[in-house]
Symmetry: C2
Subunit: 236 residues, 2 copies
DNA sequence: TATGTTGTCAAGTACTTACTTGAATAAACC
DNA sequence: GGTTTATTCAAGTAAGTACTTGACAACATA
């Protein structure tokens, strides 16, 4: 008890959790899985890597306990193994934004200039939803919407938004949201709507943060096909 | 905006924060620095590594922004760069304890069998302190006590405890605490006191968690030399 | 039973990491 | 001004990591 070797082994094990998150590609995977479970080929597509390489990253995450998997026919779906994993990823992002010298440059290079886009916090959005003067728009890919979204939100993936603007009611502000603070989808959506004269704002963070805050969420197809919509008790 | 290369660079940067925590030795360093600032040679001693190697780990932590340093004469003191870093380390430990299969074995190998030792949560300890029927004992090395401890705690480093048991008042339970849930000092102290018939319990976690919870802390020498004791507004 | 789809495994390569050793600084002490 | 103390730096080595390619396994469908 209390000897060097045992302490090193223990701390190596504790650190192994940080280690698996310490690769940009695996961080992207966790960022995607925080939206809900996904099969390997879709994850590979999302992170821009080969299926073989993605599979190996997923095996690593699996062995370290950060994700679980289930088989459904020929597909294997991966998901985060608990809410703590999404919290850990949020803690990493927080420290990065507080202490990483060049982060804002890198964020600007990926996200573009956000200064012209106004944002709402979670509580501001909740208040305006309760007031009824806003429509909430989920611009993530559809599978992510189906596995969980803000209650009452409408799904139009950002790629389809330009052709589906007529689906949006007129005369009401649109509040778009996506995966989180480092996701471009909502930014792009707000820019597109502004170009067409639609008043639009962006939710400051994304769906995982909304869910983690205990705010109302639902699964299935939501308004579009209410028969599939179900109140959700917990995700992740 | 929104292209692959920029996204990879951004997520590599975010993940770099996790990466520096992803080494057992650097995790031990963060665990020590969560107690307060320390010079290089003491940190090297704590983690059982050469000074050169420890210095290189510290340079890495420094470049990644997780720690800051200051020079005082010939010594260079390192400290965590903000409270978010200790929170991140806590999040890592939480995920590890929830999802790492062999963690309890490794913890048992280092900490020994804890089942015979009773523990108090932070709030339980606070209540008993307010009731006055407990004395709080800080068993960490003295420099850590000096840079911040639970208000009213007495310092007897675990190495000196056996010879200084007479410094403890009789007829009152001793609540020992140390660095955190994976620290052996308080366990050892409680065992020592039990062997001498002193009623003793262990605080469930450690000083950083107490401080992070906003509970009362102070710096300096505390009761021992009240002239040096000062109410503390913030640490880390 | 054959065929296609989805994912994993094994082997190889270029690159990175953790440590060691010994030399180089930087401030303090005499 | 030379010596001591505390730390960093540079170079070297062994081991580990991230990706690629091609073969293999598991299930579904015809």
């Amino acid at each position: 008890m209390g000897d060097r070797k045992a302490k090193d082994d223990l701390f190596d094990a504790l650190a192994s959790v940080a280690k698996v998150l310490g690769s940009g590609r695996r961080a992207e995977i966790v960022d995607v899985l925080a939206q809900g479970e996904r099969p390997v080929d879709e994850i590979a597509q999302e992170i821009g890597q080969s299926i073989a390489n993605t599979s190996q990253h997923l095996q690593l995450l699996l062995r370290s306990g950060l994700v679980h998997s289930r088989r459904d026919g020929t597909r294997i779906y991966y998901r985060l193994s608990g809410p703590g994993v999404a919290q850990l990823w949020a803690a990493v992002r927080l420290v990065a934004s507080d202490h990483l010298a060049n982060l804002s440059d890198l964020a600007a290079a990926y996200l573009g200039d956000r200064s012209a886009l106004s944002t709402l916090t979670r509580t501001e959005l909740k208040d305006r939803m309760d007031g009824g003067d806003v429509i909430v728009l989920d611009v993530r890919p559809e599978p992510e919407f189906r596995s969980g979204h803000i209650s009452g939100a409408v799904s139009i993936p950002v790629k389809e938004l330009a052709e589906r603007l007529q689906d949006l009611p007129e005369g009401v502000t649109v509040a778009a949201y996506c995966r989180g603070p480092y996701c471009v989808f909502a930014d792009e959506a707000v820019r597109t709507m502004h170009r067409h004269g639609i008043p639009a704002v962006r939710l400051e963070d994304g769906y995982p943060e909304w869910e983690a805050a205990g705010l109302p969420v639902e699964t299935g197809n939501g308004r579009g096909s209410p028969q599939n919509s179900t109140e959700k008790t917990s995700n992740v």
